[in-house]
């Protein structure tokens, strides 16, 4: 075997591989270029709270209710709150009915998912989004709710808010840490129409550059599980953010291969890597041998777009509200990393 030519082919392979995946139709391109921005909230508007995935009690959402009321907003507690069907916030039908009612209720101006867990994908194809299309409203959440962010971006073109949920509101606001207060208030700011701007800590692994594009993303495992479906996120010319929790390094590696091999990394405007809580291998001898930075960078070494690590989004305290489907500018320099909403 000609080892030399073999190795050189290995080195350029990252750039040479064609993207795999269907090209968007004109309608899809149009939808992607022009997300609908729901009306921002004003004093006296109502937020509906629902649990489309895991179950939560009414008591557990009290801190969120009090805080939201202090923003001058009203709260409507959905019928799935307090319901339980094993791990779920009610049966599929109960969760679907609640979510549908909040989608259809014209007095509800935003829907806050109380928590994630698992379960949204079991409802998504049974939901009717026609009322949402005619009367767009903000939908708020992350983790399992990534299913909805991706679905809305791909199929309807409505902006949504990726942020903490009810289960992350501090029980006692007066004793909350500054980062908890800042992140929760970022939800309020996003809902009230403030132009969002965030800084990320410097990381020597960052790749410098400036990008402008629609911000999309969410939980990496959830994004992978949507591949091939009608909710599958399209990433061309967009700024993609990803985060995950409780995954082994090999699994994170495999998920980034899925992004790459399904053509989601080759035409990005920029890449934002949020928090990744890595599950340690049970057997120390089974060392994976690559860290998160190496896993990410080897997939995108053939591309030029900016990349930042440690962005404050993820299953962690520093998880700020991000507007999915809205244009942003990502600036990664040796001095600072900023993500700014373009209005």
């Amino acid at each position: 075997m000609n080892r030399k030519s073999f190795v050189s082919s290995l080195l350029i392979a990252g750039t040479g591989l064609p993207a795999f995946g269907r090209q968007p139709s004109d309608e899809e391109k149009d939808l992607e270029a022009n997300s609908i921005i729901p009306h921002y909230l004003k004093e006296g508007d109502t937020i509906g709270i629902t649990s489309p995935a895991g179950y939560i009690t009414e008591r557990e959402i009290q801190p969120a209710i009090l805080q939201i009321q202090s923003w001058g907003l009203r709260v409507k507690i959905g019928s799935s709150i307090g319901k339980r069907d094993y791990t779920f916030g009610g049966t599929d039908e109960e969760r679907r009915t609640d979510f549908q009612q909040l989608l259809d209720d014209p007095t509800v101006k935003a829907i806050l998912c109380a928590r994630g867990g698992y379960g949204f994908v079991r409802l998504i194809d049974q939901l009717d989004f026609s009322a949402l299309k005619s009367h767009p409203k903000w939908i708020i959440g992350f983790s399992d709710i990534t299913v909805l962010h991706a679905h809305l971006n791909r199929t309807i073109g409505i902006a949504s808010i990726h942020s903490k949920m009810c289960n992350s509101f501090p029980d006692d606001w007066s004793k909350a840490e500054p980062i908890q207060i800042e992140t929760i208030l970022s939800i309020r700011d996003a809902l009230k129409g403030k132009r969002m701007q965030y800084n990320a800590p410097l990381n020597e692994k960052n790749r410098f550059g400036v990008a402008e594009g629609m911000l999309v993303g969410g939980n990496l495992k959830t994004l992978e599980s949507l591949a091939g479906s009608k909710s599958d996120l399209r990433t061309t010319n967009k700024i993609l953010f990803v985060e995950d929790t409780g995954e082994y390094l090999y699994s994170i590696d495999r998920m980034f291969w899925n992004l790459k091999r399904s053509g989601k990394l080759d035409q990005l405007a920029g890449l934002i890597v949020g928090g990744f809580k890595i599950k340690a291998s049970e057997d120390a001898a089974e060392e994976f041998g690559k860290n998160l930075y190496e896993i990410v960078m080897e997939k995108i070494s053939g591309y030029k777009y900016p990349v930042c690590f440690d962005f404050p989004v993820g299953h962690q305290k520093n998880n700020f509200a991000l507007k999915c489907g809205v244009s942003h500018r990502l600036q990664v320099t040796k001095n600072e990393t900023t993500l700014t909403e373009i209005q």
């Binding site: 082919s9 290995l10 090999y250």
Partner: protein, 302 residues
Amino acid sequence: MKTPPYLQKGDIIGITCPAGYMAKEKAQSCITVLQQWGYEVLVGKTLGSKSKTYFSGTDEERLIEFQAMLDAPEVKAILCGRGGYGVGRIIDHLDFTAFKKNPKWIIGFSDITILHAHINRNFKIATLHSSMAAAFNDGGYKNKYVQSIKAALEGAKASYTCKPHSLNHTGKAKAELVGGNLALIAHLIGSKSDYQTKGKILFLEDVGEQHYNIDRMMHQLKRSGKLNDLAALIIGGFTDMQDTERSFGKNVYQLIHELLSDYKYPVCFGFPVSHGKENLALKVGGSYQLTVTSDAVALIEQ
């Protein structure tokens, strides 16, 4: 669909580890038994390598060895020593030109599902989904599951049966067989190694997953259209399943069964294809007839 030539006495079987590390002594029974079956064994350097990581070698080392075995005309079959994780890191760098001209049997399961799917999708050459080297240990080579590898390589047509299961959908289907590890099949969706399942018999197995994750992966298969137009579905073993602290509320067979209510094709549960001992050799790309009645299940190779 092309079927690689069946093996003759004296043919060479290469053993390589394209994914996780395996100590050589763990494959010694396999090597000895393959020799007793009348084959010569070419042991790759990735088996029992000096690697200190999870992998049996660097990406390049694993790739070079697999490529060399694909290209060497005298190697008539490639048995993967074990699975684990790693084929996905080298699949796009493998050159199948020589393999396409002179097909040979690629043998393994679990992470090796990537090779089965990639070869099925792109080259229409049959491969062998079966247990790997460790299954030969502790007298395992005598059981019918390891013996089914021998029969398959010799060209015997498989005729398998399994116990009926209360969730089975009865019916009969004759079609091409595809399948493997659910997590890998889901992971490949959207890539160029993605199985096309229309009109085919699909088999699935998995190990060590959370119930909710099996549910999520099955929803992905369904939502990406992989379950719509099957000829039949074979659900193998789902071993070492874990439930969350807040229970999912259904076992794996129940949650799969629930997703299939719209479909009329035959389905059998508990077929002996799994990460356990019960793992019959199946030809991905082979033609089979599945018959599911209320009191019997038979999978007959055509």
